[in-house]
Amino acid sequence: MNSFYSKWLGGKHGAIELAILAAFIFVVMPLWLDIFRLNMVGKYLTYAFAAVGLVMVWGYGGILSLGQGVFFGIGGYCMAMFLKLEASDPVSTAHQTTPGIPDFMDWNQVTHLPLFWEPFHSLTFTLIAVVVAPLVMAYIIGAAMFKRRVGGVYFSIITQAIAAILTILVVGQQGMTGGINGITDLKTLHGWNINSDAAKYALYYVNGALLIGVIMLCKFVLSSKLGRLLLAMRDKEDRVRFSGYDVANFKIFTFCLGAVISAIGGAMFTLQVGFMSPSFVGIVPSIEMVIFAAIGGRMSLVGAVYGTLLVNYGKTVFSESFPSLWLFFMGAMFIVVVMFFPKGLSGLYDTYLKVWLGHLVTKFGKSGLPEKLNPIKTELQNGK
């Protein structure tokens, strides 16, 4: 139990953070918002998966991936393929030239289901694919790059190119992928109408629980030896290498972890929104995901969630109030955060709120507690 506490929750502070986040997602949001807005929050929380993945890959691993949208897209497409097949049963597609295949295939004169679609009749296979497909992809990219010590900016640009290529491929092969329209009009999951209000509530909670689970998993990874090695690698890669560790393998692991986390988000996106679009695979969403993580604080798993919510909240509010000027606000927000709050929301929390909480705790002097806050004090003294 004790090791669970310190490893999976990240100690007292980690546990409090997680509890607040859980309360926020599971209690505050559903009480505060109607189902339409809650569903929107659910959608944003799926982006938070990608942001959490980026905290691991970028914040701790030091690798900035500009292709996180690719993995989000893979997860989303896997789920969308399953749902689309279910929505395309021979009865409801009877008016097509070839009944029983997805409508967009019929429009593109595809007369039989492509082979790689076949296994997606099975939900089990789909769920496995959501995890395994991005894993394989990330492994191939990671192994090719990290074994050859490609890093830093190069890696970012190359992942960006991969995102661009995949978008062109997905859009170009529209008979098999739905092209630029994406895979739309998804209706049921094993006969369960995913568009009903009840389903939306249920999916929202599943999504939230998965997100919390993923954060706990990341905390566990970070509290292990691997986590410390990651930090060490980020700061002085050569020293870790000289100490006898295979740096590339750790990087590949982190990259794969981030990819799988994003893909889970993608799959949840498809379920909650009811379609998948190639616009997620492209460059713009990938950069936006980085921005979510940056605004939340690139070293904070929980911060990434708040960052995602804040940016998307801003987007929604700005664009509803100023449909033709909102880009000014968004652009300014990114610049201000990068320039003045490089540690994002979690940096603000650490420098202001945490200290204030610390004072509060000291003031009401519970024995033992100030001791535990010492690390923060030293951090402050060191000018962090």
């Binding site: 050859r148 190119a161 980085v290 921005i291 940056a294 652009g331």
Partner: protein, 307 residues
Amino acid sequence: MGGYSLSDLWSILVMQGFSGLSLFSVLLLMALGLAIIFGQMGVINMAHGEFMTIGAYTIYFFSKITEKYFPGLMPFYFVVAIIAAFSIAFLIGYLVEYVLIRHLYKRPLDTLLATWGLSLIMQQIFRSMFGAREVSATLPNWLMGSWKPTPDIDIPLNGLFVMAMSIVVTLVVVLFLYRSNWGLKVRATTQNRIMAGAVGINTRKIDRITFATGCGIAGIAGACFTTIASTGPTSGSLYIVDTFLVVVFGGSASLFGTVASAFTIAQAQSILTFFMTNAMGKVVTLLAIIIILMMRPEGLFTSKVRK
């Protein structure tokens, strides 16, 4: 290819060769500015495309003014406008460096985020100033149509112009970088900022001018592209990925690498799109670039860069 006469094939071959060269000069012109900013300074300028758009709108603006007030000068305005395109982009680049970039040199990946925000703002400024629709500059007659060395061969004049501009700009950049005092300082700063500072180079000033020059060259590129492509608030986003690919593929700090990489990519894409469809040609080119980058991660030609 049966059914075509030999002279047909010959003229297609000539024109195909030219369109490869033309694409090469387009890519080179796009990438030169970024090669300086990203290659020499390590700044990831996601707003590079928007600096090109500044150049394009400058041409549009000048063409409208000239058409309205000095119609007799139409054949000549383009030259003035290109200089203006450079100057305006240079000035804005200078300002951006001062306000934004100089605070971020120690955090190169953060420049990506900040300049991304900048690009959003710039797009919206274009939209507010020039409207959301695409515009078209009236080009002088000497830039329109084609040159016909034989009845079957058409060499695009605007292609020739872009080619000439990219040669001029490349030569000027090479001369400045490798034959001038300023270039020496830039290279010194690239290789070792602290030492450069220690020997009395004002590295901050060098940075500012280097960044602004890169932006100015983007302005020239954008100005030239009004002759072959669209001018709209989001036109710049069409170029940004290709531009980065050229620079990275060439090896970031090597100007020669940028030239070689623009040439390789242009020829590959041009030949592939001739034998495949346009979209497939592009995909195959991009895939090839990625595979080569995986084998040669530091690009085709490398030189020492500060990390």
